[in-house]
Amino acid sequence: MKIESERKLLSGDEAIALAARHAGVALGAGYPGTPSTEILEAFAEYGGRGQWSPNEKVALEVAIGAAFGGARALCTMKHVGLNVASDPLFTAAYTGVTGALVVVTADDPGMASSQNEQDNRRYAVAAALPMLEPSSSQEAYDFVFRAIEISERWKIPVLLRVTTRVCHSYTTVVPRNVPVEVRPGDYSKDIKSRVMIPAHARPAHRRLRQKLAEMLAYNESCDLNFIVPGDRSVGVITSGISYMHVREALPTACVLKLGFTHPLPLDRIKAFVDSVDRCLVIEEGDPYLVDAIRAAGLKVEGKPESFRFGELDVPRVRRIINHDLTPEIPKPTGKPPQLCDACQYRVVFESLRRRDCIVAGDIGCYTLGVLQPFEAMDSCVCMGASLGVGLGLRHVLPEAQARRVVSVIGDSTFMHSGINGLVEMVYNPPPTGHVLVILDNATTAMTGHQEHPGTGRTLSHEPTNRVVMEDLARALGIKRVFVIEPRFGTSEFDQLLGECLDRKELSVIIARRPCILIAKQLKQYAAREEAACECDTKPALCQ
């Protein structure tokens, strides 16, 4: 592989992908989610092997397997994805890895496109994992190499924590000019490290704490943290994108910029605090740094509680510095998104509204059904929740209300974590039955049209096996499974929904029509597949 080491303008996501490629990462696995989605897409574009898994937990497990096999692996997800993947994450900290494992968590302070603004730096502490936080695309690029180095040295997964502004801002990157070839895996048996029965896990936990102690010692003098010399009357401790806002808001101050933020180099921090007259900690989101620094007995100023909410920017950082608590002028909101005019979901939501259904909803474009004129969604918690929440409602509501409850989920979300809910529906059916509507638009539209197991195409849009949701539902023992195309100007969908609501049985309605925004691409894929079939090597996929 050739690298041109000229200056490029890359997003943080692209920089991570390029570094993974240049560092010889053998496998990238993940699940789409803003602001992380572009990492694996770019990784595949740069020639890496990137694949979407049905959800983040599976993606992390695949990456753990690759790292057990001695390869370098990358796993990407948005912040809430790490909740889904937290089970393997915590125990992979115990097992450790043989190759390298970098887990990217892309947080979304301010919720540009998320259902919460959780601060995943807490996961590094909870799972006892090392964490790096880049603040530009150049650092995102460099830190991937450093994360791999740390992962291989201590045989441990490393969290690379980025935020929306790092992921989606384009800043200059000069790539390294010595690329590493992908190193194939090679298995070596290591039962005591990898089989976490209590007898193995007890010493593994001690090993983990020992590794952390060693990494802490390393971090105390590590160049991932550095001091910007300046006026010692005010010192600022910061990390991630906040560093950039600080440099602009306080160009003359002395700054301790932390890049390796767990375990925290508290001796170094103490030396810095002692060297300045007034010391401020400026961080986005939770008071993660400031709490840890204060717990170490150091006197530093944090930010007022109101700055826990939303993103920081230069004006907000100025306010923090100046103790300015005057009310912030809310930013004018732009035009909110809405369902496309020709979106077939409109037919479904119109029917749900007309029938006054209680809609346990889910996350995707279709969440826009909550807006006017439909207002046909009554809950949206996390991906896959529509099934469980709908079932819970059916179990406790009086019959007349219970019979109006419908769960509505998108196709990608169904593959992600709706399947488990469907199993629950079969296993614990409410006395009034239940109705599930799967909105199958043949794509993950919300995050920019990614493939998923139900589309029969890989991340790079190449043909692969397809998981057929109606077959799956029938195989689970559900008798009433319908596939229908929701069409404007007809009452077919509405009638079917009415009929399902009338029965006290389990029904699954698959409302299937490809998203209009990808009509052109779908035609191209179909043409490509047809051409490939004629001379083909994989007839099993050509049905």
Partner: protein, 163 residues
Amino acid sequence: MPVEVTNIVVAGIGGQGVLKGTDILAEVALRAGFDVKKSEIKGMSQRGGSVTGEVRFGPEVYSPMVPTGEADFLLVLEPTQVAPNRHLLRPEGVLMTPAEINADELPNKKAINVALLGVLSAHLPMNEQLWLASLREGFDLSFFEANKQAFLLGRNLRAKANP
């Protein structure tokens, strides 16, 4: 430092080429040798929501976001998006809207983003060759002639107004 950084915000709604416009602008500044940062909020732009792209360039740029009230130029592709973005502009900043362009002179209506880049370019230090090179490479080559025409229409507006 802030004085040496030029701040530009491009705003519109999904499908208008806001992000393409900021791409071209950032690329031109990069090729001119500046430090450049470009920020965009994508969210659900495809579903017709608001889209803004921000470009900052200068000898050294820190924050990728244009601070409220510090934009030197605000390009708005859709009249409804002026109000939600005006607070970004500094008091002496310049607002540019499609009203400045005679739509009949455009080779096609979609090229309004490029025409406004042309208007903007007349205020910036980067030379015409750099702009045209980025326009040539940034789009499918078949669009180049139309884009060049749109760009020059915008770029020469001021010259025309004050001959």
